[in-house]
Symmetry: D2
Subunit: 88 residues, 4 copies
């Protein structure tokens, strides 16, 4: 089970994005909208960090406990691949 | 008026975030969720770019046409301030 | 004239990059090297911010004082273009 | 041994940073300098990616082969910690 805290966080982000759509529809000032978007990006980064830690302590931990080298290599390859996407 | 294209884009991002919440609730694989989050961040970056261009061709353009130096300085200060937030 | 502080900062970054090359040659631990690279990226971001502020208070300020709308539009277009590159 | 390719890449980045210092000293146009800094950041990102892959195929691979769970957990914790720093 994913943490309830992360689910709550994502619901809040969804609300923030809806708020930005409303700001656009009400023709609010662009710079205020762009600052709101920075807040959404920061909130997404915090959620990412939680999900990754959850992944490390569950899925990756299972692979470590299994003692199965192939499974472990698979987990490492996934993390390296994700890291590559992240930097963009 | 903000462009309808940007509003549509934000609505789609809202749907993507809702999809991620659902993935979390259904306990989907963390790495798949993290890849979805990269897609949301890329979509937000495209929306930001559109909003900024809209800002340049409307609000900043108005300040240029006004010939009012103080107003122009204000617009530049806002952009520099936003740039500083962006890099985090 | 660019600020001496920024020039000093860039010389320090050059030294940090040389330090990373040395760490690679001495086959130091990858994770330590990667943390050093984060430090370089943070230092570059601070230098960028200084250069942009310098730009706003000199070149952009000159365009504002000139009262030349075409020149002002050119400065805005350059900033928007830079902003687009930044998000990668 | 770290790859010679990565060492060469870092030497080239060092040269690029020295070039930026020179541009500052010669009072070159700020926007041109800022574009050069984007090029350095992109080159650093490519080097990071190479070093991380090197890390995965050597240090992490050794931990997998060792069959030592504590060592494996240590490697995962380091990657999660690095990921957290990266997003800034």
């Amino acid at each position: 089970m994913k943490s309830q805290r992360t689910i709550t966080r994502l619901r809040r982000i969804e609300g923030q994005v809806r708020g930005i759509t409303k700001m656009l529809e009400e023709d609010r000032y662009c710079i205020d909208i762009l600052h709101q978007m920075q807040a959404v990006k920061a909130a997404l980064a915090r959620a990412e960090s939680e999900i990754l830690k959850d992944h490390a302590s569950h899925c990756v931990e299972d692979a470590i406990r299994s003692g199965n080298s192939e499974e472990q290599r698979g987990k490492v390859a996934e993390l390296v691949d994700l890291f590559d996407k992240l930097k963009r």
